[in-house]
């Protein structure tokens, strides 16, 4: 359709002077790639770029959805209010705490598993392992959360069933309460996220391992290196780029977790799941105050804090030389 419009445009132009014609063709050639980018740009600008700048603007005003009054520009008042709120710092720390619990397991376990699966020589078995590994990755997020909500359930959940009835470590009275904003909630969510990312990250590392020529570790072994030395000096440096991407991306997702906390934690301010994302959501949608300006400031502070650390991580892990 866009093509015919362009054709029609050029047809109209051809009635004008030849020099104009030359300009039109040049313009059309410069513009035609952009027709292909229009759908993407509409969505990307409309639902990602504009909202972010809009939230940035809101964070400097006393904007409220429900108010008829036009929003007033209040400069840094929302930011000052947020920085003076102890909950802001506490909620940022909680997000960081979750990230510290979650990151090591989600990098090291898949790395170990990938090194093991990489050495499976039977092609059928190797394919089977890969298919099973990707199964959690193709389960939609909410369904993963629902599944683990039931795993941790203290009535019918199999985890407490094993702990209480089979191993006898606890009785029904003191069985661990995993979810609902107890101190165990953050580790419980971290374990769930390990399960979710285990296969996907393993596939990532497997792709990295496949790119390492097989005679490199072989040569190191002949030179008398043990398995650990082969891993540390031959394999690890070559996996570093993939590891860097995973660490930075997972740091980003872990700091900005929100769905899990909405489902598992609720809006209790004392809960360890009340992180900056929930704080922002609470202020914007739940409290009934509809202080969108304040909520936007919380969101921007959280986002900028984590972007700062991500840039730092990128610098630390940047390949040397």
């Amino acid at each position: 359709m866009a093509d015919t419009i362009a054709n029609r445009l050029s047809a109209r132009r051809s009635q004008r002077t030849a020099r104009m014609e030359g300009h039109a063709v040049a313009l059309r050639q410069a513009m035609s790639p952009w027709w292909f980018l229009v759908p993407t740009l509409i969505f990307f600008v409309g639902y990602q770029v504009y909202p972010i700048f809009r939230v940035l603007w809101i964070s400097f005003t006393d904007f409220q959805y429900l108010s008829d009054q036009p929003a007033n520009w209040v400069w840094f008042d929302n930011y000052i209010a947020a920085f003076n709120d102890p909950l802001m710092w506490k909620s940022l720390w909680r997000a960081a705490l979750f990230t510290i619990m979650f990151l090591p397991g989600t990098i090291i376990l898949p790395l170990l598993l990938a090194i093991l699966v990489d050495r499976v020589t039977n092609p059928r078995l190797a394919t089977f392992y890969r298919v099973v590994l990707l199964i959690p990755a193709v389960i939609p997020s909410t369904l993963v959360f629902v599944l683990w909500k039931w795993m941790y359930n203290y009535q019918v959940g199999p985890i407490n069933h094993v702990l209480v009835d089979i191993l006898g470590l606890f009785t029904l009275q003191n069985a661990p309460q995993w979810l609902g904003g107890t101190p165990l909630t953050l580790p419980a969510v971290a374990i769930m996220e390990w399960w979710w990312g285990l296969g996907y990250h393993t596939i990532f590392f497997l792709a990295g391992l496949a790119a390492i020529p097989k005679d490199l570790p072989e040569a190191a072994r002949i030179d008398g290196a043990n398995e650990w030395q082969v891993f540390w000096h031959v394999i690890r440096p070559r996996l570093a780029p993939i590891m860097m991407i995973l660490v930075v991306l997972r740091f980003g997702t872990a700091m900005a977790v929100i769905d899990e906390y909405l489902i598992f934690g609720g809006f209790n301010r004392a809960s360890p799941t009340y992180t900056w994302t929930i704080f922002m959501y609470d202020q914007a949608f739940k409290l009934g105050l509809w202080r969108q300006g304040f909520a936007a400031a919380i969101g921007m502070i959280g986002a900028i804090a984590m972007m700062f650390v991500m840039v730092l991580l990128l610098r630390i892990f940047r390949p040397k030389g």
């Binding site: 909410t142 039931w150 795993m151 009535q155 959501y281």
Partner: protein, 301 residues
């Protein structure tokens, strides 16, 4: 190398004489055996929760409270029961199918056009777009922009509307989809596109006839990634809709409290199996293409 091979070849045959063959087999393959045991341990951990839900969905109600993995009495009626007794269930399922299908097609459409144009039509300023898409992957856009997306949807009169969810859903994975399509289109030789152009095919025809067949694997990845996200989206759906009838199935399931009335545990599990199966089946069928595409698109991109 040859020395090593000889060394390895000699040792087992020597020990064969002295040790019983069975023990010898284990000693020889100890590393392999341990490796497979560890791998299978992880496989079981991955599969066990899913197996548990499936078993739950075919247990009788008393068995569901007992906690044993294997039920004493099977009951397969939960699947028909949930359709009869939970009145919004068919609507929620249809909502999920509708929103997901629309999202997957729209995003794939956008991503294919954009990926093709960025690589083979080389627009001026394309680099800026790629950079913007990359930055958006690192910024917590989904979380922070929710405040303003609510405002946009309110302005478009799309609050509490199932169709309204499609617009923000398309954007959720748009950046990564465009980048995946871009990196698979980079594997298509530019000479091929040029040849089609010289033969008189316009850019649209070239894309449809020459480009698309060559990026099949990448398409499968974009399809599956978008399917998984749209099918299981939670944050936008709970924020932008209020009534159970307009919501998608996983969101309703997340809000359901087990054990009460129509939501008995086996009924919940039956709904879960119904919702999780389509994705798993699709993945199993597309698995080969998915892996190829993942290697081409995600890992190299």
């Amino acid at each position: 190398m040859t020395l090593e091979a000889q060394h390895r070849g000699v040792l087992p045959s020597q020990s064969l004489v002295t040790v019983r063959p069975q023990r010898n087999w284990f000693n020889q393959n100890r590393a392999t055996v341990i490796r497979h045991v560890v791998i299978n341990f992880f496989m079981v951990i991955i599969l066990l929760p899913l197996a548990w839900v499936f078993m739950m969905s075919i247990k009788s109600r008393p068995d569901s409270m007992r906690g044993d993995f294997w039920p004493r009495k099977f009951d397969f009626t939960h699947y028909s029961y949930v359709f009869e007794k939970i009145d919004t269930l068919p609507i929620n399922l249809l909502n999920s199918i509708y929103v997901t299908t629309a999202t997957v097609f729209l995003t794939t459409f956008c991503a294919v056009l954009a990926g093709y144009a960025l690589v083979h039509l080389r627009p001026r300023g394309g680099g800026i777009i790629v950079a913007a898409l990359l930055v958006s992957l690192y910024f917590p856009t989904r979380v922070v922009s929710i405040i303003s997306i609510y405002e946009i949807q309110d302005w478009l009169n799309l609050i509490n509307s199932t169709s309204g969810l499609i617009l923000p859903y398309v954007t959720l994975n748009l950046a990564i989809s465009v980048l995946i399509m871009r990196s698979v289109f980079q594997l298509v030789p530019h000479e091929l596109i040029e040849a089609a152009k010289i033969d008189g095919a316009g850019p649209w025809r070239t894309l449809w006839m020459v480009g698309l067949p060559m990026v099949r694997n990448g398409l499968v990845v974009v399809f599956i990634v978008n399917f998984v996200t749209a099918w299981g989206e939670f944050l936008l759906c709970t924020t932008l809709t209020n009534d159970q009838v307009v919501r998608t199935m996983p969101v309703v399931l997340a809000g359901a409290q087990g054990g009460l009335g129509q939501w008995s545990w086996p009924a919940l599990a039956a709904v879960y199996v119904l919702v999780v199966t389509p994705g798993l089946v699709a993945f199993t069928f597309a698995q080969k293409l998915f892996f190829k595409g993942l290697m081409e698109g995600v890992v190299k991109g």
